[in-house]
């Protein structure tokens, strides 16, 4: 937590759209550290530790809401929306007795304030003093693909959390694993939403922290999966209502799937017209909260809105495509319980961590572990 989440990395905190007006707040996390993200009266966004300077109690007890100031319920110490301590109850005592000595400076213990940067409607925060500017941290080959999706004012559609029975790293690794998608998720393969034979590729930032896996919608109709008798290729499986996978090329570039991750815990998802941000919150060594927020755009037509509703069936804990990821990371957590001295094999695509055209590769997984090992000095 200290070296990664509270170190020189950038964590996604929330969408700007989750702070829709001045004087609103949203609870979030920096790793396991609770934080409050606020939009002040002037519209400026701030984030600070959700911890009272006094005794360390949570300041903000709601997930989201409106407030002009935040008061700790324990002893009524108050804070402005920048996180400054503005009031200490009975600081001078009562009737000349009690209270705090004049040389006390509780302000010196104020909740830590995060450095904030917003990028294309996404709010990121860091405590790291040496963290590079956000756009540089994202990398020149990653940032444009965030802008590609986040191209217009966002309209929130809904959210939920998937509680993963695994360490946070196993989910990040799963996200960066372009090799598994069409093998584990039969829906992808059967409906040719994502096959490794489709044109696409892996884009990996310098050092491996961030990645994009993408594929084009068009499919040559090859029989590679069927010939290899892959479990995930089941031609007998047909839908009565194919509208669940009906989509439009709303970005105009033919890319039907783009999964983008930013180390350590952010994922931007475009699966056809299903758009979402996913935020990884480590809860314990073997438990992780994956916070999903689905969105569209303010100017969506009713038809596009309906498509996003139908495609909501593809993702999340009940998603035809993504339900398996919750189970798969748990299988690794459980399967490797007695194997602390063993190693897993991450050699698809060789040893490198560079971008490549083939998604039959674990290059992005290696990039993730490379970044992790550097930060942990392993």
């Amino acid at each position: 937590m200290e070296r990664i989440f509270r170190g020189d990395t950038w964590s996604f905190l929330c969408l700007e759209a989750e702070l829709p007006r001045p004087n609103t707040f949203r609870a979030s996390r920096l790793g396991d550290m609770p934080v409050v993200v606020t939009r002040d009266a002037d519209g400026e966004i701030h984030a600070f530790e959700n911890r009272c300077a006094h005794r360390g109690a949570l300041l903000c007890l709601k997930e989201r809401g409106e407030a002009k100031e935040i008061a700790c319920v324990y002893h009524n110490w108050t804070y402005d929306l920048c996180g400054n301590l503005t009031g200490v109850a009975f600081r001078r005592g009562l009737g000349g007795k009690g209270g705090m000595p004049p040389d006390s400076h509780p302000e010196a213990h104020a909740p830590r304030r995060l450095r904030i940067e917003t990028f294309a409607g996404l709010v990121f925060g860091t405590l790291g003093k040496k963290a590079a500017p956000l756009e540089e941290y994202l990398g020149p080959n990653i940032a444009p693909s965030i802008r590609r999706v986040m191209k217009k004012p966002v309209r929130l559609l809904g959210g939920y959390s998937q509680m993963l029975p695994s360490n946070w790293k196993l989910y990040m690794e799963n996200t960066k694993d372009s090799y598994h998608a069409s093998l584990l998720h039969m829906f992808f393969t059967t409906f040719r939403l994502n096959r490794l034979s489709q044109k696409g590729g892996l884009v990996i930032s310098d050092g491996g922290a961030n990645h994009i896996s993408y594929s084009m919608s068009a499919d040559a109709g090859g029989k590679e999966y069927e010939q290899a008798k892959m479990r995930s290729a089941n031609e007998a499986f047909a839908l009565e209502v194919p509208e669940v996978i009906k989509s439009v090329d709303e970005f105009g570039d033919g890319i039907g799937l783009q999964i983008l991750s930013v180390f350590p815990g952010f994922i931007l998802q475009q699966i056809r017209n299903s758009l979402a941000v996913r935020r990884i919150v480590p809860v314990g060594v073997d438990r992780t909260e994956l916070v999903w927020t689905m969105f569209g755009f303010e100017d969506d037509t009713p038809e596009l809105h309906d498509m996003r509703m139908m495609q909501s069936n593809l993702v999340g804990p009940a998603g035809f495509i993504s339900m398996e990821d919750g189970a798969a990371t748990g299988f690794v957590q459980r399967g490797s319980r007695g194997a602390g001295g063993e190693q897993s094999v991450v050699e698809m695509g060789g040893q490198g961590i560079g971008s490549e055209e083939s998604r039959v590769s674990e290059a992005a997984v290696r990039g993730f572990w490379n970044t992790y090992r550097q930060l942990m000095a392993i």
Binding site: E63, L156, L157, G158, G159, Y160, S161, Q162, M163, L164, P165, L184, M186, F187, T190, N234, A236, F237, L239, E240, V241, V244, E289, M294, R308, M309, M310, S312, N313, G316, P317, A318, G319, F320, M323, E324, G326, A327, A328, G330
Partner: protein, 156 residues
């Protein structure tokens, strides 16, 4: 409140949850009208007026697709549910349909033997009663927590 109405809603939900708990999922869509709607969402989404949830269907055929995918495509460990229902509150009669709310709790029993409280919430139902036949015109499953453990394969 018309006790007959309350009884019909209660009986429909009792048979509905029994079909799920006894793994007769192929009969699950038959509790709905052909154009029946089904949504699983969270109380947080409802409170914020957000439309999107975890499962969404606008027809019985989509419910059949759900079960077909569960049986043939999706990967999940063997598990089953046990629903416990509260007494339904019939809120209104609305264009010939009964609008009713019923609390539920669902335990999930894994093949490993682990049992957990998987979900609590309320069914917000629109029920059509035609003689002996009662069907869901709409069923909204509103779970109290935003958190779902691991995955939500079997419907609620």
């Amino acid at each position: 409140m018309n006790p007959e109405h309350q009884f019909r809603v209660q009986e429909l939900n009792a048979r509905y949850t029994e079909a799920i708990d006894e793994d007769r999922l192929e009969s699950w869509p038959d509790f709905f009208r052909d154009n029946g709607k089904y949504l699983i969402t969270t109380a947080e989404n409802v409170a914020q007026g957000l439309p999107l949830g975890m499962m969404y269907a606008t027809s019985k055929a989509m419910l059949r697709d759900r079960i077909k995918a569960l049986r043939g495509a999706n990967i999940y460990e063997p598990q089953r549910y046990r629903h416990v229902l509260g007494v339904p509150v019939v809120v209104a009669e609305d264009g010939g349909l009964l609008r009713a709310r019923t609390s539920f709790m669902v335990a999930r029993i894994m093949h490993t033997g682990e049992t957990m409280l998987f979900a609590t919430g309320a069914y917000e139902d629109m029920v059509e009663i035609a003689g002996e036949v009662a069907l869901f015109a709409e069923k909204k499953v509103i779970i109290d927590s935003r958190q779902v453990d691991t995955l939500l394969a079997i419907p609620l």
